[in-house]
Amino acid sequence: MANPIKIIKNGIIDENPTFIQVIGMCPTLAVTSSAINGIGMGLSTTAVLIFANLFVSLLRKIIPDKVRIPCFIVVIATFVTIVQFMLQAYLPSLNASLGLYIPLIVVNCIILARAEAFASKNGPIASICDGIGMGLGFTVALGILGLVREFIGAGTLFDVTVLPEAFPKTLLFVMAPGAFFTLACLMALLNHFRNKKKA
């Protein structure tokens, strides 16, 4: 069995779901209008990912191969519903701002992809580590995206005003097009560094 720390690092850096694998794009673009929303979404997804990975891994020998995808989806949907209730009870404001995207964690391809590619082939502990790594990688990506968009679009960081009032706010960045541009620029930056490293 691979070293747990290595698995976690793999999820955050080497196979970062957002920047490297480019999956789970819908929530990435939709809820990152502020850093808090982005990180909240990231952590909710992480929670679902960890438990879904754990249970898929535990059940991997019981689930027949032919109907595995529907089984995975039911496991995932169950944990999404639980997370949704927790948010409604303890963090109602975050729940309200994430809105529709909480139930949509079910169809986040990252979770199904990890269940299929990792949890259904590895033991429970490695699967939990994979869930933590992938989840944190996703959270970091969403957090960075949220920070950049919030800073440029509203002049705040974590809801604290940092730019002077007189500084013009580029409202476009908290709206839909800003999400595409910010992610494009971040990925281009990453590509640039990678090209440089290779050269």
Binding site: V22, I23, G24, M25, C26, P27, L29, A30, I69, P70, I73, V74, A77, T78, V80, T81, Q84, F85, L100, P103, L104, V106, V107, N108, C109, L112, L172, M175, A176, P177, G178, A179, F180, F181, L183, A184, C185, M187, A188, L189, N191, H192, N195
Partner: protein, 192 residues
Amino acid sequence: MYLILLLLAGIFVNNYVLSQFLGICPFLGVSKKVDTAAGMGMAVIFVIVLACAASWLVYNLILVPLHIEYLYNIAFILVIASLVQFVEMFLKKAAPALYQALGVFLPLITTNCAVLGVAVLNMQKEYNFIESIFNGIGGAAGFALAIVLFAGIRERIADNDTPKAFDGFPMALVTAGLMSIAFLGFSGLIKL
């Protein structure tokens, strides 16, 4: 009249891809060629309309009478997954030509969040059966329109000389961003 407005709002104003970020994965993934994009668009329209009808029936005839509305998420995803499977089997038998055209895209649609998204939105907004279907057609047509236009633009960009760091995904995202700005022009056009 209201239904037509609902339809147009779905296509232009609340475009699922460009203003609500639903269905981004297939939007970025299957948009390199106009033909495949059109195929995906047609398959999505087909499945979303059926899913809207089926999820409305399941919610209002099964979940509400049994007071288990909180299970909607699990119920909807199961409905969609089995619906996709069923459509695939039905098309294979009944319309092989259509199956050939849509075949590869059908399994992908289960994890297209636009399908689940529209079903959940219909439920949250408490649309009646007819409104749900029209909302579904509008949203799906909006998706098809966006993905075909996007594929058209990407085909033309493919041979152009772009900055090296922007190759591939970043360029596609910039394109999508510009399209999204264009669609912002429709906002406020229809108020429901």
